[in-house]
Symmetry: C2
């Protein structure tokens, strides 16, 4: 049973959807509730109707294309987000929403009406690119975590509340709780990898067995500001020297632990940040991730011990503030095994890996079994206009998604 | 022959001068050509007259108090700058200008007219705190390095040209070349140490045998911007990781070399400086100093090799731009030996050390023999309202200065 995916249709959908919010040569700038976002969801809904799916929208702006099954039971859903970074590319998010639609359309054409209901979902505001505190907003509403008060307090970069943005396109923030679902059995999300692992390993797709745990923390080292010339090295309490040693150590700890551990120091703030002054303080932000609970604890423990040891040895006061701490989200083991088998059946070479980025799936895991499929990214680029995945790889990915939905729904 | 210095007079001069531009509890904010700077120079001139010195001002605003000698030959001069940081304290600069005046006044009172002419100098704009490109401005004019065009192009933080600032207080920028001197034989500068070396060693004063060489350079490391979660450590080209290793190494190189080598990384700029993004580039500023030519070359060579090795090993492109490169300025060996002997004669415990900061003396060395005297700083603080030196230590320092002038002029 080979599932046929129409490469020309895939190409057409990707290219057309990318016209809504087109930015530069290959980019897309499409933030939640913007005019171009509304156009994109309308286009998505119209393609769903064209494929014979019944379209609905919920109170936060998620769009659904439903193919009713003949038997009862929770639905088999798939999808991803339709909003982008500022700017992002054509693939991050959008590809997963389109893949769900194309998979269901292909299954319907080749195998008719399913036993279990199938759903394609275009989620709203996963990136938090318009409302920076609203990551996973659409999927949060579906699992019942969003409240009617949230949109009144969340503001975009121009200071407009989400509530006003919603009302301006006909959504009623007071009805957010209506978006809650409890009738989804399984959720499969196809997404571009956003990293170079598949490219380096030489596979077009991967089955994702876990979404990483993420901790963001802010460290401030306080030293003593001094003259860069008159103060001997052996008497300094230099927070920049402490930072350099700590940042090296934090990064090295993740590197030595090996894949999939990662640690990034992406942001730093120095006071007073003068070329010829030993700084008074250095503040930096650490992003540390591991998808497996025990290794994650080990990583965080080693890093906390390192910060303490270096700061104390160098006579620096320090504070550590955890800004965000997401537990890892393992995929459903049954879905992972099933998808691995589908890869074999469909003749698609695939590896199994963890996701280093967060996804709507980790929200959906609260109400449904979840698993993900990754499609190879060129040069591991994402959140940029340059992100790219080939149509050949994408078709392989959609074939695995459709194969998985077939296993669950037919 | 014990030289008596009037501690009450010293205290009175320091306290009174600090009222011009008083800032907060103990600070002074007195930038070149400002109303408070004019008041301070007027006060200085009036004290010079009171002491029986003849006062003159040159075309850039340096103020001189001269005690004519009975024999021919270049004058024996001393002084320091009367401008401060924004804000600085009571001592940095001002103390050296006052010390010169008090030393000459004390010598005149105790020993009468000298054989060689004595001069007290209050220099103009050493700090570059109003006109950031005008460090050592007053002494540059005295050695003939300042040109009439300079004040037309140099601007303060409010955008006013130095030329306008000069004209507004009656100075004529076109006459700057008139400030050039070729009649100074020796120049002795007393200054607060601005570091903790004397305090840690337990000495009130030091004879300074060299002013350090300073190199400021800017390094940019270019890596590849990537997603903090999806990009494995082993495939990253992370300029922050490169920076951390290099900054640690640069600082450690100076530390291991031992005093008086110093290296500071005080300023950093990260692109894009987002918490969860492997940066695209890191730019940082290095301040590396050593007062001895051979060790200085070794320090710079090791640091350049380290930057190259780390950047290349980590696959980072890099640029190094030298922004400033001052050679060390050794003191005149004869003056150093003479001042060391004066310390013994006057019963003042003193050590010999290099200056880690730059001073007007390094300019004056172009036209005169130079040496410096340091007075102990509390906690090594400087360029801050908290800087402090005790009257006891200051009196010891002025006694050494006066003793040196006595040796040279009587």
């Amino acid at each position: 049973m080979f599932i046929k995916i129409d490469a020309a249709l895939v190409q057409n959908y990707i290219t057309t959807l990318a016209t809504y919010g087109a930015y530069g040569e290959t980019g897309v700038w499409r933030t939640a509730y913007s005019p171009e976002w509304v156009q994109a969801t309308n286009q998505y809904a119209s393609w769903c109707e064209e494929a014979g799916l019944s379209v609905s929208r919920d109170s936060v702006g998620n769009t659904f294309g439903v193919l009713k099954g003949t038997e009862p039971g929770g639905s088999i859903a798939s999808g991803s987000h339709i909003d982008t970074q500022r700017p992002g590319g054509k693939y991050d998010g959008a590809l997963g929403a389109l893949a769900a639609l194309i998979a269901i359309r292909s299954l319907k054409e080749q195998f008719g009406t399913p036993k279990r209901t199938l759903e394609a979902i275009a989620f709203c505001e996963e990136e938090g690119s318009r409302f920076p505190t609203a990551h996973y907003w659409g999927s949060s509403a579906i699992i019942g975590r969003a409240s009617a008060q949230d949109p009144e307090t969340m503001k975009d970069f121009e200071g407009e509340t989400m509530a006003n943005a919603m009302r301006s396109i006909g959504l009623d923030p007071s009805k957010i709780k209506d978006a809650k679902r409890n009738d989804i059995d399984s959720f499969l999300e196809l997404h571009v990898e956003q990293g170079p692992v598949l490219e380096h390993a030489g596979f077009p797709v991967a089955v994702v067995d876990a979404i990483t745990g993420i901790r963001h923390y802010k460290v401030t080292l306080f030293g003593v500001q001094n003259h860069a010339g008159a103060f001997p090295m052996d008497l300094r309490r230099d927070p920049m020297a402490g930072f350099a040693e700590i940042a090296s150590g934090l990064i090295d700890t993740a590197h030595r632990m090996g894949r999939p551990a990662v640690t990034t120091v992406g942001r730093i703030h120095v006071e007073p940040n003068f070329p010829a002054v030993v700084p008074a303080s250095v503040t930096f932000f650490v992003d540390a991730r591991h998808p497996h609970a025990a290794s994650r604890d080990e990583l965080y423990k080693k890093q906390a011990a390192l910060i303490k040891e270096v700061a104390e040895r160098r006579g620096l006061q320090f504070t550590v503030e955890v800004l965000l701490d997401h537990a890892p989200c393992p995929s459903d083991p049954g879905l992972v095994t099933m998808l691995q088998k589908v890869c074999e059946q469909q003749g698609v070479r695939a590896m199994t890996m963890a996701s280093g980025a967060g996804h709507d799936s980790q929200q959906m895991a609260e109400i449904a079994k979840v698993a993900m499929i990754f499609v190879r990214s060129k040069d591991g680029r994402s959140h940029t206009q340059e992100e790219f995945s080939s149509i050949e790889d994408i078709v392989e990915g959609i074939r695995i998604l459709a194969g998985g939905m077939y296993q669950l729904a037919y």
